[in-house]
């Protein structure tokens, strides 16, 4: 009988408290959103299930938890805390990316830069709310709308916040269809939304081949701390554009990125153990994450309007909203809002150019913040 009671006291049913229940509900909501609503299912499904895995109550000291050295989850999580998974994800993203639209209209890169304002604004807000500078920088990077970059910087500066920051970043990325369109409509007139972008010129293969090298050198000379992200990103793109290593490029954009995404999502989800995750800081991070996304979207759109004041050739300010690096979600939203204003207005390719710029911009911002704060 004593043995049976001892067994019972070690079960999850006995050890669970209300925080576990809350987190299990959160995980279930993520899984529901992924399957029923198809909101970023590639991310929300592994994260949601990871939340369930991480919030099964267990007896501490068994070497089961993600924060317990030598547990299986601990080793899988090492890919997150060391920044390995984000770097691998960027390799795959590079092998998927097509920079033709960006090379054809380089001025759209400025919109990608403008959208990074959200990062620094949120950084200031987080400082004002009492977060330490390294924590504030990790929270601010959520405004880049780039999950791997957020995780990478947080792993370097504030590893104890990886769970809430990753969950906030991916949650808001999944909610882009709800967050961005109202801001876009609020800040633009109908006539602005109907501005047609000129047809793009064709980009030669040589340009596409030069760009990864030129982009890497210019970006990483400026912010060397972004090498782990941009190095693999541009390498992946060169593999794709070179056409001589199709097998490698194909593997990078399918098997490799998929594998990294699975373990990244699952372990980030599992890192949200109730006792670590449910804190007032997490609430603050979620609030600031929403601020970061909104400001990033707004600053991109407003910068587009400012560019129109000085440019002979008008650009559609909606494109600024795609300056956040949520690929391809934000580009798709810009396209849809443009289409609603004028069914003949196709902004997708131009929005993808801003998206590509946003990816580079947010990685540079991560490098800048890391170099400011690393000691």
């Amino acid at each position: 009988m004593e043995l049976f009671i001892q067994f019972l006291t070690n079960t999850g049913y006995y050890l669970a408290d209300f925080r576990h229940v809350i987190m299990l509900i959160v995980g279930s909501v993520f899984i529901y959103l992924a399957i029923a609503k198809e909101y970023e299912p590639l991310l929300l499904l592994p994260i949601g299930f990871g939340i369930l895995v991480g919030n099964i109550p267990f007896f501490k000291g068994f070497g089961l938890g993600i924060y317990e050295p030598n547990s299986v989850l601990y080793y899988l999580y090492f890919g997150v805390t060391s920044g390995i998974y984000p770097s691998i994800v960027f390799l795959g993203l590079g092998a998927m990316a097509d920079f033709s639209s960006l090379l054809a209209t380089p001025k759209l890169m400025l919109l990608g830069a403008a959208a990074q304002m959200g990062i620094y604004f949120t950084f200031l807000c987080a400082l004002a709310l009492g977060f330490l500078p390294k924590e504030a920088a990790s929270i601010g990077i959520i405004g880049g709308a780039d999950g791997p970059t957020s995780i990478f910087l947080t792993a370097k500066l504030a590893p104890h916040l990886i769970g809430p920051i990753a969950i906030a970043a991916y949650s808001y990325m999944a909610l882009i269809p709800l967050i961005q369109p109202p801001i876009m409509r609020l800040l633009t007139t109908r006539n602005e939304r109907r501005i047609h972008m000129p047809e793009m010129r064709t980009v030669s293969r040589t340009e596409k081949l030069i760009f990864p090298a030129a982009g890497l050198i210019l970006s990483c000379f400026l912010a060397p701390a972004s090498i782990p992200l941009l190095g693999t990103f541009f390498f992946g793109n060169l593999m794709k554009e070179s056409g001589v290593v199709n097998r490698l490029a194909q593997t990078a954009r399918t098997t490799i990125i998929d594998t990294a995404t699975i373990f990244l999502g699952l372990t980030v989800g599992a890192s949200t153990q109730a006792d670590v995750f449910l804190t007032t800081k997490s609430v603050g991070i979620f609030f600031l994450g929403a601020v970061a996304f909104s400001i990033a979207t707004a600053s991109g759109v407003l910068f587009g309007k400012i560019m129109n004041l000085f440019s002979k050739e008008k650009i559609n300010p909606l494109l600024g909203a795609a300056g956040v690096s949520a690929v391809p979600g934000s580009a798709r939203e810009v396209h849809m809002v443009g289409l609603k204003a004028d069914p003949t207005n196709y902004l997708l390719m131009h929005a993808v150019a801003c998206n590509s710029s946003g990816v580079i911009g947010s990685a540079i911002c991560a490098g800048i913040l890391w170099s400011f704060l690393v000691k």
């Binding site: 960006l102 064709t202 030069i210 210019l218």
Partner: protein, 135 residues
């Protein structure tokens, strides 16, 4: 410590302003460089031993001329190919669906084909971002 006091104490203003300036300047430089890439590409493609007058001729060529012309197509024939593909999508359809279906049917120059049909009024807006065939 909270508010402006916390920002000032942690040197937040300087970090934020410097960060914004660096990323803006960095991407502006990158934008400038890639705006010149086509010249480098032209130079590399034509080789360094090109005659100067040939190079300047290429430089003077407007960029728009590089855009390929839509293939000369009989729009009626194009419609005969595409209309059956949308039969399963209802009275109206999204262009992206038409594009995917046409691509999966291995039709050539799908994007240009759809654009030509749109411009010729063969495919017309049906509202809410959807389109239909002109009858």
């Amino acid at each position: 410590m909270y508010g402006f006091e916390a920002i000032s104490a942690h040197n937040g203003w300087a970090m934020a302003i410097t960060g914004v300036l660096i990323v803006m300047a960095g991407l502006a430089i990158l934008a400038f460089v890639i705006s010149q890439l086509h010249k480098v590409a032209t130079l590399l493609e034509s080789g360094f031993n090109k005659q100067p007058n040939q190079t300047s001729e290429i430089k003077a060529r407007p960029q728009a001329s590089a855009v390929p012309k839509p293939p000369v197509l009989d729009l009626g024939e194009a419609r005969r190919h595409l209309e059956p593909l949308t039969a399963g999508l209802g009275d109206s359809f999204e262009l992206q669906h038409l594009y995917k279906l046409a691509n999966s049917s291995a039709l050539p120059h799908v994007h240009l084909l759809i654009r030509s049909l749109r411009e010729a009024g063969v495919i017309i807006p049906a509202g809410d971002g959807r389109f239909t065939w002109q009858h």
